[in-house]
């Protein structure tokens, strides 16, 4: 590499570092940017289908942006409309749940004392419930902040989406011109492979979550379990997290079954529905959709999720997997090259 090439390479690496630092320092921009990118990746195959061979490109981009904006507006309006009544009903239900739990725990304490003569002096129920109540009050206190962030996203996400649909190809081509010649071919192909893998992973997880959520909802409706739609949604969303997700998804359903006084609410039936949904996911959906895209060892997946949660919370837990898959690909390529040249 001559002096000019070295300067170009160092300049490029410097710009890359600046971009990464900018992304870390300004999460209020990075997060909606990342979210818009994910929406763009999910809608890209459909947009290509709509626009190939037609002149309705702008119209289909507009429809995509409108759909994404509506997805942001609907929860916002619903939250604003019900926020005060929801909070009151949550507090009432929490105190009812506390009463039921305390009654059950008291019965358990009496049973232990009668059978083993051991007296339990701790009161974990009051402790947990006080914490939960405090958390709910904090959430309500923070509500204006969340609302302002949501409004900010409402403005930024359509803007970024417009940018991705209309300008991303031209801009990425111009940015690629800055990549120095010796690393151009490899970095361009790897970047494209990462983009494809990331897009495929996000779409696959989206479809997987929808299928699992639908199965859980239908199953719970069939057995007459309450809150079937919300529990199905929770199961679908938490399922995005590999291994840990299914366990998290079942927790609210177990709590409802445990606290409910209705004799029709069956804990066993609910467990069967969740087991069946996860079984279908494990045997059919995951091998067909996701495993080919992310071929990683389970231990690596679990460790990656922990690292992802440390770095960027729930978002980190979701996006770390395709990143790790990309690094695996990158190391494989570097190893292949080294084995040829050494």
């Amino acid at each position: 590499m001559n002096r000019n090439q070295k300067i170009k390479l160092y300049l490029f690496l410097f710009l890359l570092t600046v971009a990464v630092v900018f992304a870390i320092v300004f999460p209020r921009l990075t997060m909606p940017f990342g979210f818009s990118y994910i929406i763009y990746l999910i809608s890209k195959p459909l947009t290509i289908r709509l626009t190939t061979g037609s002149k309705k490109q702008r119209l289909s981009y507009f429809l995509m942006i409108l759909t994404a904006t509506l997805f942001l507006i609907i929860p916002l309006v619903a939250t604003l409309y019900n926020v005060d009544t929801d909070f009151v009903s949550f507090k009432t239900e929490l105190s009812q749940a506390q009463k039921v739990l305390q009654d059950k725990f008291f019965a358990f304490k009496v049973k232990v004392f009668e059978e083993y003569g051991f007296k339990i002096n701790i009161d974990p129920i009051s402790f947990v419930m006080t914490k939960l109540e405090g958390l709910a009050t904090d959430l309500l206190g923070q509500f204006p902040n969340y609302l302002s962030v949501l409004f900010e996203w409402l403005l930024l996400v359509p803007l970024f989406l417009y940018f991705f649909f209309m300008e991303s190809q031209n801009l990425s081509r111009e940015l690629l011109e800055a990549v120095p010649n010796p690393i151009f071919e490899k970095s361009y192909v790897l970047f494209s492979q990462f983009n494809t893998k990331f897009g495929e992973y996000i779409i696959a997880k989206f479809i997987e979550a929808t299928i699992l959520g639908t199965i859980v909802t239908i199953g719970l409706l069939v057995i007459g379990f309450p809150y079937a739609f919300i529990l199905g949604l929770v199961a679908g969303v938490t399922n995005i997290l590999p291994y840990i997700g299914p366990l998290l998804g079942i927790v609210p359903a177990i709590l409802i079954a445990f606290l409910s006084k209705d004799p029709n609410v069956s804990m066993v039936g609910m467990l069967v529905v969740f087991a069946l949904a996860n079984l279908i996911d494990m045997i059919l959906v995951f091998p067909l959709l996701v495993s080919k895209i992310v071929n990683l060892h389970p231990v690596i997946v679990v460790v990656s999720i922990i690292i992802g949660s440390q770095l960027a919370g729930i978002v980190g837990m979701i996006v770390i997997i395709p990143f790790i898959a990309f690094f695996k690909l990158l190391f494989k390529e570097i190893y292949k090259d080294l084995s040829v040249h050494l």
């Binding site: 190939t52 010649n181 151009f184 071919e185 090259d337 040249h341």
Partner: protein, 203 residues
Amino acid sequence: MSYEKEMAEKLARGESSSDKLDIPLLKYLWDASPLSFITSKETYHEFFKKISVLSSFSDNEVRLFTQFLHRREFQANEVVFRQGDTGYGFYFIFAGAVNIYTNHNREANDQGDLVIKLEKRQYFGEMGLLEEFNRRTATAVAAENTILLGIFKPDLDQMLELHPVLGAKFLRETALIMANRMGQLTKEIVALKKKIKEIEQRI
């Protein structure tokens, strides 16, 4: 009725034109204009129209094709790719020249034996675009300050997705380039065999 007449009548009636300005199309029309010889620089459109293997492309197809290309500038003696590297792209020489070497030895800093010097409007590296795990069979070095127009695997995938007809046409032309190279290779092998036979007979 010509486009100009139609627009003039619309304007006379006080109607506004619903057609929006299409900048890439205007740029293309400007480049493709018969008066473009006034500018000394050759446009991508003129360049590709003069490449024989892409002569079957219509003007619009050339315009679309150029959207998938990457312009790479190389200084004299700068390596484009080395023998043994993984290949992903196909290059057209837009300006300058490229030397192709074999038996390249990186550690000894020896470029190897010069096979051919490729000039403007010639192309190389087409195998890298088609083969899944392609290893470059020769080293390409810029003989002088050179501008290359490269198309790479992700571009071909995108082209096939967005403009399938153009993608198929380009693949057919690439296959033709490879068939021509195979034909040349076969001729050379036949000539070599003939020479070997002659030498054997003499001995």
